[in-house]
Every structure is written in structure tokens, then in C-alpha cells.
């Protein structure tokens, strides 16, 4: 039995001696937020972002990212300082008092990591609370952009920093559909089910491609053979979600999650790293 994990279970499940699982998206721990802390450490001081507030939902996905960020931002010689650091239950839907408490710590950059419902509530409460921060990062606007846009509106997303996923990168795949083709196919198949097109839809599509390719390259359907076949694709298979690249423990590390910022029209532009950027970060509007 070989388990294909489309979007990244806990990082703890991947180890070199666990041959039962293959991850098709980046593991949450260190790979997702890597560009985020690089951005904060390298660009933050230049942009006047030195005091950082960290607010996260206490589940595996966002909690692990918060832990990795905290470690990186507190490393010796770090030019920034964490002035607020709190976890909240994932069921949280009221952020007003938390936003007020964050404001009392007087941060330059607020990093909020939650699930879709958390990010919607946080961004809406932020908009309606009257509090302003120099810069705000939220997790899901770049992952489920449609859902966030519908619930928070472009006025609520303007100026927000987020991860840019395959949804905003529009990479040219060698295997599988392009972003536009996939979006069209998705709308045709699921348009009326109430599930918005987002990065999770891409992850599902790419999972199908990886499994198809793995089956084509496998000698038998036994676990070890399948695993060997999947590893033979590593570094070669280019999909909509980037170059498929497996670490020794079975986790994928080829996916790109650069940092982006929404402009006033609701377009997401990449602002970091410089080699991928197509816009400059704008500070002081949220």
C-alpha cells in the first residue's frame, strides 16, 4: 500500500523509514513559510517593518508554520523583533479584541495564519475595526483566492500580503492542463457544487497527473515499485504546480510559494523573491 497525500499532512508523518507515503505538495513545516521569513529578514528593515505580530490558529497546518517562522525570526542577529505572539483555536470567528490587543503592541507587520474561515473573519474584522497597520500578511488569500475575494471583497484584500501559489503564478506545465484550461474544466464539472476553484483544486489535478505518470513508469503495483516509480519522476515532471521534486523522506519540495501583495484592483503581484517579483511591495495602506 502506498499513500499519495495531495496537500500535505503533518510534517511529522514523513521520515526516511516510512516508505508508505508520498507527499505531492510542500510539507508545511519549513518549506511553505521560507520565502516569508526571508522577506521579513531581508526586506523588512529596509521597508520599516521591524516589529512583528504573529497570530495563528492552533492546528497542524498553521501552527507548524508559526513555529518555523518564530524560530527563523528569533535567530541570533535577527534585525526584527516579535512583539505579539498568540495562538487561537481554529474555531475562532471573532478577531476584534485580538486586533485591538495586537494594535496595543504597536507592530509594523501583522502575520495572521489561519484556515479560510479564520482569514475571512480576521480580514473583515480588520476592515471594520478601524485599526491600521503598516503591513498585514494573511495565509489563505493566495490559496483560495476566489472564496476570499467573495467574502472579503477587493477592498478588504487591497494591500494584503499572502503566499502566491500556482493559482497566481500561472506556470507553463509540461504535463497536464494549464491554469486557464483547468479552471474551465473545473467550472464545467463542479461549477454548481458551491466549491470554489482554488489551489486545492490544482493540488487534486496534479495528484492525478503524478499518479498517472507513476503508474506508467512502474514495473508492478507493489508498494516499493510504485514508490520507485514516483521517485523516478522527481525533478523531471513539470506540472502547473511547479517542478515535482521529492525529498528522501517522500515529501515534495519543488512547489514555489513566493510572497505577493494585492493591489487596489484585486490583482495579486509577486513582490518576493526578487527573481520572481513583478511588483514592489507597498507599505502603509492596511
Amino acid at each position: 500500500m502506498l499513500l499519495f497525500d495531495p496537500t500535505g499532512t503533518g510534517a511529522a508523518f514523513f521520515s526516511k523509514d516510512n516508505p508508505y507515503i508520498v507527499l505531492l505538495a510542500d510539507p508545511v513545516s519549513s518549506v511553505w513559510p521560507r520565502y516569508l521569513w526571508e522577506f521579513v529578514l531581508n526586506e523588512g528593515p529596509k521597508l520599516g517593518l521591524k516589529r512583528i505580530a504573529l497570530l495563528y490558529a492552533t492546528n497542524d497546518f498553521t501552527g507548524t508554520q508559526a513555529n518555523a517562522l518564530r524560530t527563523a525570526l528569533k535567530a541570533p542577529g535577527s534585525p526584527v523583533e516579535i512583539v505579539f505572539d498568540e495562538g487561537v483555536p481554529t474555531s475562532t470567528s471573532n478577531y476584534t479584541v485580538l486586533i485591538d490587543n495586537i494594535a496595543a503592541a504597536n507592530p509594523d507587520l501583522v502575520i495572521e495564519l489561519g484556515y479560510t474561515g479564520n482569514d475571512i473573519a480576521f480580514l473583515r474584522n480588520l476592515q471594520d475595526s478601524g485599526q491600521k497597520f503598516k503591513a498585514v500578511f494573511a495565509l489563505y488569500p493566495g490559496i483560495e483566492t476566489n472564496v476570499l475575494m467573495k467574502n472579503v471583497d477587493k477592498s478588504g484584500l487591497a494591500g494584503i500580503f499572502t503566499y502566491v501559489t500556482a493559482l497566481g503564478l500561472d506556470l507553463k506545465p509540461e504535463a497536464g492542463l494549464s491554469l486557464a484550461e483547468l479552471r474551465e474544466a473545473y467550472e464545467k464539472a463542479y461549477g454548481n457544487t458551491g466549491v470554489e476553484f482554488g489551489w486545492n483544486a490544482i493540488a487534486g489535478h496534479v495528484t492525478g497527473i503524478v499518479i498517472t505518470e507513476a503508474l506508467a513508469h512502474a514495473d508492478t503495483l507493489a508498494q516499493e515499485d510504485l514508490r520507485k516509480a514516483v521517485f523516478s519522476l522527481s525533478g523531471k515532471l513539470k506540472t502547473l504546480d511547479g517542478t515535482f521534486e521529492l525529498r528522501e523522506d517522500g515529501a515534495q519540495i519543488g512547489e514555489l510559494t513566493p510572497i505577493g501583495q494585492f493591489d487596489a484592483e484585486g490583482n495579486l503581484r509577486v513582490v518576493y523573491p526578487p527573481e520572481l517579483a513583478n511588483a514592489k511591495p507597498v507599505i502603509g495602506q492596511t
Partner: protein, 305 residues
Amino acid sequence: MRRLLPDLGLAAFLLAALTAAEFLYRNELLVFNFTIFFILAQGLNAIYGFTGYLPFGYVGFFGAGAYGFALAVMHLGSAPLPALGLAGAAGLALGLLLTPLLRLSGAYFAIANLAAAQAVYQVIANPALEPLTRGPYGVSLASVFAPRASFLAALALLALLLGVVIWLRRGEMGLALKAIRDDPLSAAMAGIPVVRLRVLAWLVSALAAALAGGIYAWHISVFYPETVFDLSFSVFAIVFTLFGGAATLSGPILGAALLYGLYNLIGITVPQYFQLIYGALIVALMLFLPRGLLSLLTDRGHDVP
């Protein structure tokens, strides 16, 4: 003894069928899950069928057992069987802690029990307890992973529990419990130790769920807090038991076999449709057959196991 034959026959048939399925059928996880739900339905039967208390938070014991097992393996380096001892102890401790809830009647008990299960989950999943429970990040017990051995443990637990339920049904203790369920005041006046017997049934039920949780943790070996505190465990155990008929041996078995079978046919791909079906089943049962499918037979004077 002759009265026991149908009960024993049914128990033996169920255990034999599960064993055969485990060794002959390729999808071992499915057979294991069936076994777990047979245990949970019977465990719930022990408290609901014989005392009338409906524990909505039954999953709390299951989750406590799973974490009892995980803590023993992670921190004490226990082998699986002693770790199951800790799983059972965790369930018993939680059961004892919650005995004051038995003071509450009907719906209050059900809701307070649900709140208690949620509270246990929220404490275990809190990141402040990460050094102990790994908090929300889940545990990995790959070092003790043993699907066959853990299946056999589940089978043994089911056998034991079926024995307990048969004893409850046919023995004096069961009669006393039913007397309490139907009229606690008269039972107390007749000299039946109401509180002690209720607590005993409660602890038996808690222990069964906790051991099932421990075995489940052993079998799946990697899980999150929300995996083992998923309210579906409570809901399924309740629905399976109500559907077949509580206070019988065969009712929960029938319910679990039919409905969990149906769940595996449609519930995994389209869970909302399965939810719709069992929701409608509950409403129909409460209106027309409040004591379950088997009451069609028992009401006509048939003695079903």
C-alpha cells in the same frame, strides 16, 4: 444455559465472520473498522441500553484511550499491550471524573457529556501541551505499527465485550439495571443499589471505548487529535445502536453491520447523502419504532439474542 445459546451462537458467528474476513478479504482496514464499530456500538449499548443514559460525548473515552496509548508508547517506551493498559486507565479515570454527570437526566446528561468530550479534546490538542501530547500536531507511533496484532486485540476486546453484554442481559445485574432504567425510585425502594450499578455500567462502557481507542491508535499509528475525537464516532455508535435496538445483543450488531456497510458503499464518496439517510432514519425511528428494528420481533413475543 439453554437461554444463553442464541446469544453465544450469535457472538461466535460474528467473531468467526470477522476473523474469516480479515484473512480472506484484501481490505483489512475495512474489516478492522467494522470491528471497532461493533465494539463502540456494544459499549454504548452497555450504558444506554441498560441505564437509559445517552452519552453524546462517547467519543471522549475513545480519544482519551487513543492518547493514553500514545503517551505510553511515546514517553514510557511501552510495548503495545501494557500501553493498552494505560489506554483503559485513561478511560476509567475520565469515566470516574464524569460520574457526577449521572446526576443529570436525559438531554442534560447528553449535552453535558458532549461538552466534556469537547473539553478533553481541546485540552489535549492545545499547543501548550505539545511536550506531552504533541498538541495539534498529531502523533506518530510507527515504531509499534502492527496491523495484524492490533486487529486480533480488537477481536479479543469485542469477544470480551459481547460476553459482558450477554451477562448484563441475562444476569441479575442486568435485571437490576433495567429495573432502574424503567423506574429508579421503585428500584431503590426494592433495595437495588441504584447509584453503584449505574456507575458500574458507566465505567464498563467507558472502558470499552477507551480500549477501542487505544487499539485504534495502535492500528492506524499516525493520527491527529481531531481524528480520534471526531464526533462521528459518537454519532455512529448511537445511530447503529438505536437502529437495531438497544438492550439487545443483536440490535447494535445489526445496526453496525447494515449502516456501516451502507456508509462504506456511499458514505465515503458522498458523505452528505449518507448523513441525509441516517438523519431520516433517526427521525423515522423516533416517530414509529423508538426501540429499534428488532422491536418488530420482540413486540410479537419473539426472543431475539
